[in-house]
Every structure is written in C-alpha cells, then in structure tokens.
C-alpha cells in the first residue's frame, strides 16, 4: 500500500479528477437537498399544460402530462444516488468478502465453490437475469437492486481474490499466523484493509454501472417502480421526441451525462493515485 500522503498529493495534482470530484459533490448536495425536502418535491404534480416551453415557473418546460421537467430532473438526482450507493456499497462488500475467502482458501473447496458461482453468474446475460429476478420477486421495487448486487460483485471478487493470494505470502501475514491469530481475524484486521485501494475504485465503477443500468431497466419496465428517475424520464421522452419535444430528453440525458462523466474521471484519478507503478510524469510525456 502506498503512503497516504503520496496518494493525496497525486489526487490533488489530477485536475480532471478534481473537477470530477467537485461535480460529484455538487450532485451529492442536490441529492441531500431533495432528501431533506428542500427542492424537487413537486415532481409528480401536473402543474402546467402539456409540453410548455421553458418559463420562469417551469425552468425546463413541462412534459406530456404537464409535469415540471426541472423538478423531475432534480428529484432524479436522489434516485440516482440511492440506486448507485446501495448497489456500489453492497456489491463491493459482497465482492470483498467472497473474494477474500476465495483467495485465502485458494485451491481449496471454498475457492472452487466461489469461482464456480462467479462463472455461473457471469454466464447469464445480465438483463435476462434481472428479468428473471424481477419475475421471481413479482414486481418488488427491490428486484432491480437485488439483481445488480447479485451480479456486480464478481468483478470486485476476482480482483480481491488475486490480491489476497498475493498478500497471503507476505511477512506480516506469516507473522500474524505464527503468533496463532485465528484466520478470520487475520483476514479482517490485516488482509482486507490492504485491499481498500481495489475496493474504492471498484465501488466507483459499480456506482456508474448501477446508474447506467437503472436507465435501461427503467426503459424496459424493470427499474424504478415508485418515484422518478432519469431512466423513466428518457422512457417518457421516447414518445415525445418523435413529436418534436426535446426538453425532457435533453434535461435527463445531460444531467445523466455530467454525473457519469464526473464519476468516471474521479474513478480514473483514484485508480492512477493508488497505482504504485503509475508515474504521472511518464504518462504526460
């Protein structure tokens, strides 16, 4: 693991990453404001006429039902963070846990079983898997989250497994073993904390993937069930754009793009900062 000071210095020098971090923080504050009930609360009220142009009352105009597009786009920030955070945190934890077990007991039966499970989950086409989960859970609003968590952990798990297999042979782990610490304690106290750099990057990747997936699932009718999201707005807009009304489409797709782009830049910066072989001077040449 890199000394923390160097990681922070590298992060501070990465201008694209910093810009990404600033925009993500801005979106997070928007999400919190929606949570606290400060903005975006009138997303479901049909306050205007159909397809009104932007005006002081309706900043981005109104949609086919006369609902305020600005309110809906802002409320969707909260939905995006809810989906992104829940899926990113839980899938990364699951991946860390199973990956660590597989790596620690590598070439034993727990490893074989976990590898098999990952192979199986990676073999089922994702959207069909979600459809199957939604079918089994019969319209539960959590079906989407469950399906994403159940599949997104495999990527993290493979990386953590490889890292734990490496760490297992290092001196500090040997020392912990020699003094008779139980396996689970060594794993939790000494091995897993050394995989944090993988987990942070993987969680940010999972966050982006979850938001992108929500859009597709909401369009397919398998996503957000109550509330509004950029995916639902885009699904609405598929009818509107053919009639020449683009406000709904533009509002949802631009906000979606800005958040995803910022998060991708942040994830890249994290990855570079944690990578001990990465030399910013050489990359800039």
């Amino acid at each position: 693991m890199e000394p923390e000071g160097r990681i922070w210095r590298r992060l501070r020098e990465d201008r694209a990453g910093l810009a990404g971090l600033a925009v993500v923080s801005l979106f997070l504050m928007l999400a919190l404001a929606v949570w606290l009930g400060l903005i975006g609360q009138d997303w479901s009220i049909a306050a205007g006429g159909r397809w009104e142009p932007p005006s002081p009352q309706h900043w981005f105009g109104t949609n086919i039902l006369g609902q305020d597009i600005f309110q809906r786009a802002v409320y969707s920030v909260r939905t995006a963070f809810e989906v992104g955070l829940v899926v990113a945190v839980l899938s990364t934890l699951l991946g860390a846990l199973l990956g660590a077990l597989a790596g620690w007991y590598s070439h034993g039966w727990p490893d074989g079983a976990i590898l098999w499970l990952m192979g199986v989950l990676d073999s089922i086409p994702f959207y069909l898997f979600v459809a199957a989960v939604a079918y089994a859970l019969q319209g539960q609003p959590w079906a989407m989250h469950v399906a994403m968590i159940a599949t997104f952990w495999t990527g993290t798990s493979r990386l953590v497994r490889a890292e734990v297999m490496k760490l297992k042979t290092r001196e500090f782990v040997m020392a912990a073993r020699t003094i008779g610490l139980p396996d689970l304690l060594i794993l939790g106290r000494h091995v897993l904390p050394n995989t944090v750099h993988i987990l942070l990057v993987q969680a940010s990747i999972a966050f982006v993937a979850a938001i992108k997936t929500e859009v597709i699932l909401s369009f397919l009718g398998l996503g957000v069930q109550d509330g509004v999201s950029w995916g639902l707005m885009l699904a609405e807009s598929t009818q509107e754009v053919l009639a020449g009304h683009f406000n709904n489409f533009l509002a949802a797709s631009l906000m979606l793009f800005v958040l995803l782009m910022s998060f991708n830049l942040l994830a890249d910066a994290l990855q570079d900062a944690f990578d001990p072989t990465f030399d910013p001077k050489q990359a800039a040449q």
Binding site: G119, V120, D122, L260, N264, A283
Partner: protein, 312 residues
C-alpha cells in the same frame, strides 16, 4: 486430466449452475401458471390436471431434472401469449437478431482495436489523449440516450430523415442496409468507448514488455512492431474480450435495440415475454442463452490453445 476434457467438465458444472438458477428464479419461485392456462370457472379436476401437466405435484429435484431435460431436447412448450411453439418462435427470430447485431459487434471491436493501437503507439501524445478522452466521454453516455439521439438525428424530420424510424422489412441487401444502419451505429457508439479503452490498456501493457524492446533494438519499424509483435501477442486478451462481451453486447443489446426499434428478433420476443409475464418463452430464452454462453466459453478455452501454445 486432459485439457479439453477438463474444460468440458468445467463447462458441465457451469451448465448445471445456470440452469439451476434460471429454474429456481422462474419455475420454482415464479408465479403459479395454473390459472394463466385455465379459463374462468375451471373444475377441480381440470385444475388438478393442469397442475399435474405443469409438474406442480412433483418434488423439487424431479422438476429441475425435467426442466433441464426439456431444455436440452428443445421441448420448450408453447407461448402463453400466442400459443405458438417456443422453439418455432426462436427459430424464426434468432436469424433476425444475428443479422441485426453482427455488423455493429464486429465493427465496434475492429474500430476499438484500431483506435487502441493508434493511442498505444503514440502513448502520452495528443492523439492518445484525444482518443482516451473521447473513450471516457463515450463511456459516460447511456445506451438509451445514444439510441434516441441517433433516431432523432438520422430518422426523423427533425434531423436528416434518411432511415426508417422503426421496423424491419428486409427483403434484399438495400433494404437490409437501410434498416440495419441506425441500430449498427448505436451499437458501435455504445461499445466503442469501452472497447478502445480496454484494447489500449492491453497494447500499452504488451508494448512495455522486454521482447518489444529487443525487437526495437534490432531495428524493427514501428509499424512492424505494432502489427507483428504487439497485436499478435495480444490475441489472448482480444479473444477473451470478444467472447465474453457476447452476452452483454449481443444479447442485452438486442433486447434494448429490438424493443426500441420494433424489430422482431429474440430480444423483442424476450422483452414482450418480460412485460407480459410469458413464462415458457422467458425460461427458454434465459436457459438457452446461458447454456449457449457456456458453450462459447469452452470454445474460447480451446481457441486459446490455437493462438498460444503455452496454454495447457
């Protein structure tokens, strides 16, 4: 054990896994089909008969084995919605999906490899930065946004209005090209960012190896270095990437593209089955595509041996 045999055994375990999961999700936990098949006012005998036909009176293991046996003998039953045999529906729609997705899938990978090579060759220069920046931008745009934007720009009076808005009336090559262009462009745009970034990383890694430095010291030209030494030695990750993106790109992509453009392929069939809860169709599509992908993985493992003699 011999390599092919070991891989086949590994594949068999995967097949058992994917069929087990699709069985548990869709048949065991799935909604009771009895009243979907029966009309109103069914008698107790009719109900018992249908439940027996569906196997609801059988134990778990027996039903799972029956499901696997049906899947492998392609006895897939009839669609609840149309009454048509599922195997016939799939035989009718699979070629459409293949014709729809193949050009975009191939182009997306070829262009990704070309751009990745171009970026890796001028690593750190402005070409590389431009290509890498555009890749991240492409990765940040949703599939749905790309489809909607391309449809508006290319197929409606608000844009160029060159191609059909939706549908699939293909009879000859010109009509095929006319219908396939917008879906192909969507698929290329959606995959290009991820592909370029992946291939660039592979080529950068390979270009930093010792054998490349040696070849350069022996006076190999940059073009020969890239084509002969870097590209050829990167074949294993390239094959892995191509094969493993099949379920995500081809199958999930066809689900979205076909339901959006109203194209009668497997994806549209699956979409309709999802929205209407058509269990026989859904379980056949999920089960068969998962099994097909396991077969693809076995084929991939055997391909590795062809391109890399070190694999054992």
């Amino acid at each position: 054990m011999q390599y092919p045999l070991r891989k086949a055994f590994h594949g068999l375990l995967l097949v058992l896994g994917v069929t087990f999961i699709s069985f548990v999700l869709m048949v065991w936990f799935g909604p009771d089909q009895t009243y979907t098949l029966l009309g109103k006012n069914a008698t107790a005998e009719q109900i018992a008969e249908v439940r027996h036909e569906l196997g609801y009176d059988q134990p778990f293991l027996r039903r799972y084995l029956d499901y696997v046996a049906d899947l492998f003998t392609l006895r897939l039953g009839a669609s609840n919605a149309s009454g048509e045999q599922v195997s016939r529906i799939l035989a009718r729609t699979a070629p459409v999906s293949l014709a729809l997705m193949l050009p975009g899938f191939v182009l997306g990978n070829l262009m990704g490899i070309a751009l990745g090579l171009a970026a890796a060759r001028r690593r750190g220069q402005w070409t590389d930065r431009l290509i890498s920046g555009l890749s991240v931008t492409g990765m940040s745009i949703s599939f749905l946004v790309i489809i909607i934007a391309l449809q508006v720009l290319l197929s409606t009076p608000y844009g160029l209005n060159l191609f059909p808005v939706r549908g699939w009336q293909v009879t000859d090559l010109p009509s095929y090209l006319w219908h396939v262009t917008v879906p192909t462009l969507s698929l290329v745009l959606v995959t290009l960012g991820y592909n370029t970034r992946f291939y660039r990383a592979v080529f950068v890694e390979e270009a930093s190896r010792d054998h490349i430095r040696t070849a350069r010291a022996f006076g190999a030209s940059p073009a020969v270095l890239m084509w002969k030494h870097v590209l050829k030695n990167s074949l294993v990750p390239i094959i892995t990437r191509v094969m493993f993106s099949i379920p995500l790109v081809v199958i999930s992509g066809s689900l979205l593209i076909e339901s959006y453009f109203g194209i009668p392929g497997v994806g549209k069939v699956a979409f309709d089955a999802i929205t209407s809860g058509d269990q026989p169709v859904l379980k056949a599509v999920v089960g068969l595509t998962a099994v097909a992908f396991v077969l693809i993985q076995i084929a991939t493992d055997l391909l590795y041996r062809l391109v890399d003699p070190r694999v054992a």
